[in-house]
Amino acid sequence: MISERKSLVIDESTAGGMIRDGMTIAIGGFINSSHPMVLVRQIIQRGIKNLTVVGAASGGPDLDLLIAAGCIKKLVTTYMGAEHFCPITPFFRTAAQRGELEIFECDEGMFYCALRAAAQGLPSTPWKAGLGTSFPEVNPEIKVYSDPITGEPVLAIPAIVPDLAIIYAAHSDAYGNVQHIGTGFGDRAMWRAAKRTIAQVERVIPNEEVRKNPLATSLYGVDAVLRAPYGAHPFAGPGYYIEDGIHIREFIAAGNAYAKNNDRRPFEEYLQKYILSPKTHEDYLEVVGIRRLVSLHEH
């Protein structure tokens, strides 16, 4: 009479199918680390448009790629750079300067206010930092009001509810108990805010392994699990590989050709080579090449 527990592991195409035009999508990770790139490429391959994207608290070239491919209508972000690779990502900068991108301008404090309000089922949460700045002016969704108890001025940061969070992590069991290696950045906050979550992981591990260290379970229950080794490439997969600086610089260079010379060809070549031609994640890994992949060790 007891049926077995149901595996939540799905394939790349099923996972991609969960993302639709016009959705609000939160994408985990931090700058050049831990983005669920199989799912990011799925978004581009499927030609999904008009997304509201909640980038990681500090965004990175993963979002720049989605801007370049025309998938994003509105971006929630506090920073769009790639640290030592690039101070401001080129497609973001160009799209923002041309007014082609709606931007929910905020800092990291406000960013987590918006996610926390979503998780808590609240219309907004208050924040003090930002009083006296331009944020309420450049982001009219943020309102200044008086605290109902003390009367002092406070900012109201509206809830942003992702329809779906896509998160990269080291491990999950088949039942959606996810464990990160490292801190997990702000991924927990995205998972709590979102209606549903797909975890893209390096390895699906036995439930018994999860139970050996329950404190390490960072997301206690996601809706679907996608196994994809090297799935954060070209970004770092903490505990497995560091970022691929050569590849990131190749993408940034393509972006700079567009930003500086209005030349989209290098990006179109990048897009064709790495995203549109490879039909699957395995195809992508072949294009990158095993020699490159195994060179990205941590020590």
């Binding site: 500090s58 101070p87 300067q97 800092d107 990291e108 930002g130 006296g132 002092e152 950045f185 906050a189």
Partner: protein
């Protein structure tokens, strides 16, 4: 090999100045990407402040037992977690900013005469900026809550030092005046110094208008004035920014900045 105080770079000078701002026992966030403040904070830690709690790549650590720092340049890198005493989930920063850092270093595309700064962008119309910046990262919130903060820029010119920022992402002394932060309903000690490759500036006590504090060796007051886009308060006597001691230089070069980022 011993270094002599006679030969040091401007970056080493700035790092040393920053190192003297750190107080033992504080929590101090180490911005991975900014070599000069990072080196300054580590220098303070190694020489004077064994009890600071360093926030580094989303961990807390203490590094006084590290004979030599391995290089780390990014916020997201997992390798510095080898030193961790605690992991911080990034969203925890918003639960209690003061548990991340008691002090902070803030940069800017623009900085105005009252120390307000701008990382959003340059231009009159937010929807059509002439130069889009990277964004505020966590500077708005950290600068709001910390005990005090420091402005730091890697070049000193009239594009950066403007009379009025096009946008403000981090409040310094608002519209000026010692009570300007209080009037805005915000806590924290505001910016104390602005450190540039030419000089150090502070804020005049009553007006909170930016004032020249010291010039780096070889820099003239005139040079600073010519490269600043607002009228700077110039005291009658402007000292030279104190040079690093031999021990400071040696510690920087032999324990912290092994790759010579500050010597380039």
């Amino acid at each position: 090999m011993t270094s002599t105080a006679a030969s040091f770079t401007t970056k080493e000078l700035m790092a040393t100045f920053i190192s003297h701002q750190v107080r033992d026992g504080e929590r101090v966030a180490v911005g991975a990407g900014l070599h000069v403040p990072r080196a300054g904070i580590l220098l303070a830690h190694m020489l004077r402040c064994p009890n600071v709690r360093l926030y580094l790549a989303m961990t807390f650590t203490n590094l006084i037992k590290e004979p030599k720092m391995e290089p780390f340049y990014t916020t997201y890198d997992i390798r510095p977690t080898k030193w961790a005493e605690a992991y911080v989930f990034h969203e925890d920063f918003q639960e209690k900013p003061r548990f991340i850092s008691d002090t902070f270093v803030v940069g800017g595309l623009q900085i105005d005469k009252f120390g307000n700064s701008n990382l959003i962008g340059v231009g009159k119309d937010f929807k059509h900026l002439t130069f889009r910046g990277p964004g505020a990262v966590g500077t708005t919130s950290m600068a709001h809550y910390v005990d005090r903060y420091y402005l730091f820029v890697q070049s000193h010119d009239k594009r950066i030092f403007v009379d009025k920022c096009d946008f403000i992402s981090t409040v310094g002394w608002g519209q000026g005046g010692a009570d300007s932060r209080k009037k805005l309903g915000i806590p924290g000690g505001g910016p104390v110094y602005c450190i540039t490759p030419l000089c150090v500036m502070d804020f005049e006590e009553k007006s909170k208008h930016m004032r020249l504090y010291s010039v780096h060796p070889g820099v003239t007051v005139q040079q600073v004035v010519e490269n600043t886009g607002f009228e700077l308060i110039i005291p009658s006597n402007v000292p030279e920014t104190p040079a690093p001691t031999d021990e400071e230089l040696r510690t920087l070069r032999e324990r912290i900045d092994l790759e010579g980022m500050l010597r380039k």
